[in-house]
Amino acid sequence: MRRTNIFISIILFAFTGYYAYLISGLPARNIPHTLGADFMPWVLTVCLLLLSSLLLMKSLFYKREEERVVGISLKEVAGILSLMAIIIAYIAAMIYFGYVFITPPFIAAMMLMSGSRKLKEIIIFPIGITLAVYIFFYRFFNVLLPGGKIF
């Protein structure tokens, strides 16, 4: 974990620097005895800088820190990317086709990703879940579901 923490503290330093750069671009509005919109962000910048330094120092000098490596495997990256791609495609398709038509294929795709291989299950559950959510949310609780431009 030591190396991972060193890497994380470097990312946090970079983020702190970027955040400070954004704060410096905030428009000023001087009103007497009133703190500006940049006050709290600067306080948080200092806090994050201090905490990132502490994490770095702890990782560098605290020898008892465990040497366990927490990396990301290729399988994990592929899993995350494919899930995100499916969700983004689902959202994009929903803009045009609406919730009811596009949700069953999305659920079927997710079930396949989760290890489902039974054809009957892959056909029945997506339709059932889609209708159940539609009735429960839209009909019963009046919560709006995404409507498409086409349907």
Partner: protein, 494 residues
């Protein structure tokens, strides 16, 4: 009984509210009994439904889930030795041993009755203590409120976390997210990158859904779903004899006391309470050597404690606006969705709602008792619902729920962003609860800090000059430095 309390009771007993309670209890039992699904996840999935409900109906639904989720966690802990929720971890020790000896029914019955006792005890404490704290908290001005919010944040960031530094980093990053949007005092847009949707700030509901639900979906798909073994044996004899209950009374009182006390401390939470109560019960028991071999006392103490936590955690949430655990943090969010501001003023301006919360908690406890005992066979079967069906349902509820907030996919994007962040935070051992709390309490922290400094014309000594705020700041420092020194000392001793 006052007119306000009676009006609140008649409101809670309306049919829609009773149905909401029952739905919450059923959903909570399912969530609690299903290993891997947490009560927090159940709460965030139900939150979008509350948009269309009245505040009382929303709380009937959510409190039903909270109470029964705590009880439901014991079912899989006892039958399969897999705690449904972290708060049911200690129950598995003796509960599963009882099940192995063919006493699963007795173990579940003891767990349900102890949970009911713990819930009722903590409700009593809530009703008695909360109004007094709220009355006292009415004296708080901006400096005291700032110090109080700071105290809540530091307690959550440092107490019970594996790494205090990582807990604090998580909290600070949460606060940074809360600086996005139009500055309330100056009217200046901050870090909106030209997006109109960000002018109102980062919506906490998509952030909550992302932080709690998406990592579970990702883990389920990337790591693979946990294989749940099947429970085949018959469950009978759920109702313990009266004599057995009286013998467990002392243990249940102890568990409820520990649970309510620990629950009221922000950041402590259920898992600490259950193991503490188990340990105390073991110490005071005549059968202490039999603990771990299938003793009913070993089930009664943690189960009474984990439901005691529920009422205890609501004390600081309702009276001070400081949640005791992640679940009450989500309840706090539910209050804000309804346009209610938790804190001492809630008792003045919405007294009837506060009483409704008390009654709803009572109804939820009673429903949990009866519905768990009468439908236990259903939950045992539902333990086997495969993750390949659950994960897509959770994903749909996340997407629909985040969309429903403003009927825009921008919030769905925010949910996905926080979901990925939450996944990597969990992976690299950064706790998400401090971030969640910072997201909810951040705006109040900034507002009270700036108002205090305007009052004092920029003089920060205002926080020390006010005695109550000074006390809170000292406790904040102790809560941060104390565990740090303890860990340094422990490592030196090694």
């Amino acid at each position: 009984m006052s007119d306000v309390a009676l009006a609140a009771l008649s409101d809670v007993l309306r049919l829609p509210n009773l149905i909401a309670s029952m739905m919450g209890v059923f959903f909570g039992l399912f969530i609690g009994a299903s290993p891997g699904l947490t009560i927090s996840l159940g709460m965030v999935l139900l939150l979008p439904l509350t948009f269309a409900l009245s505040p009382v109906t929303s709380f009937c639904l959510l409190l039903g889930l909270y109470t029964s989720g705590m009880t439901g966690g014991s079912i899989s802990a006892i039958l399969l030795n897999i705690p449904g929720t972290p708060s049911a971890s200690a129950t598995a020790i003796d509960g599963h041993e009882m099940a192995k000896k063919g006493r699963a029914g007795e173990a579940i019955g003891t767990a349900v009755i102890s949970s009911f006792f713990g819930g009722m005890f903590s409700l009593g404490c809530l009703v008695l203590i909360a109004p007094a704290i709220a009355k006292f908290a009415l004296r708080f001005g901006a400096p005291e409120l700032f110090a109080l919010v700071l105290l809540g944040l530091t307690l959550i960031c440092s107490f019970g976390q594996r790494s205090i530094i990582k807990g604090l980093i998580s909290g600070v990053i949460g606060l940074i997210f809360m600086t996005v949007g139009l500055d309330n005092m100056m009217g200046i847009p901050r870090f909106t990158f030209g997006y109109v949707e960000l002018q109102a700030g980062v919506s906490f509901l998509p952030a909550l859904i992302g932080l709690f639900a998406i990592p579970q979906i990702l883990e389920g798909i990337v790591i693979g779903a946990q294989v749940i073994p099947k429970y085949e044996a018959k469950i009978s004899g759920l109702l313990p004899r009266f004599k057995d209950i009286t013998q467990l009374f002392k243990t249940m009182v102890l568990g409820a006391l520990v649970g309510t006390g620990i629950g009221a401390i922000p950041g402590a939470g259920g898992p600490i309470a259950v193991f503490l109560s188990y340990d105390y019960a073991k110490r005071i028991s005549r059968n202490r050597t039999l603990f771990g071999t299938g003793l009913a006392e070993g089930v009664a103490a943690p189960e009474s404690a984990n439901n005691g936590v529920a009422g205890g955690a609501m004390i600081p949430m309702l009276t001070l606006g400081i949640p005791g655990d992640p679940i009450t943090a989500i309840l706090l969010g539910a209050l804000m969705i309804q346009g209610l501001t938790p804190g001492p003023l809630l008792f003045q301006t919405n007294a009837q709602f506060v009483y409704s919360v008390f009654w709803a908690f009572l109804v939820a406890n009673i429903m949990t008792l009866f519905l768990t005992l009468s439908t236990i066979k259903v939950w045992v079967r539902l333990l086997q619902v495969p993750k390949r069906i659950l994960l897509p349902i959770i994903a749909i509820l996340c997407i629909v729920g985040s969309y429903a907030l403003h009927n825009t996919f921008f919030d769905t994007g925010v949910m996905l962003f926080f979901g990925l962040l939450g996944y990597f935070m969990r992976k690299y051992e950064f706790p998400v609860v401090p971030m969640l709390l910072a997201i909810i309490l951040g705006p109040a922290l900034e507002e009270h800090l700036r108002i205090s400094l305007i009052i004092s014309q920029g003089d920060p000594s205002i926080f020390i000059r006010h005695p109550i705020s000074l006390v809170f700041i000292i406790i904040s420092l102790i809560s941060f430095i104390g565990p740090l020194l303890k860990r340094i000392r422990a490592s030196e001793e090694e």
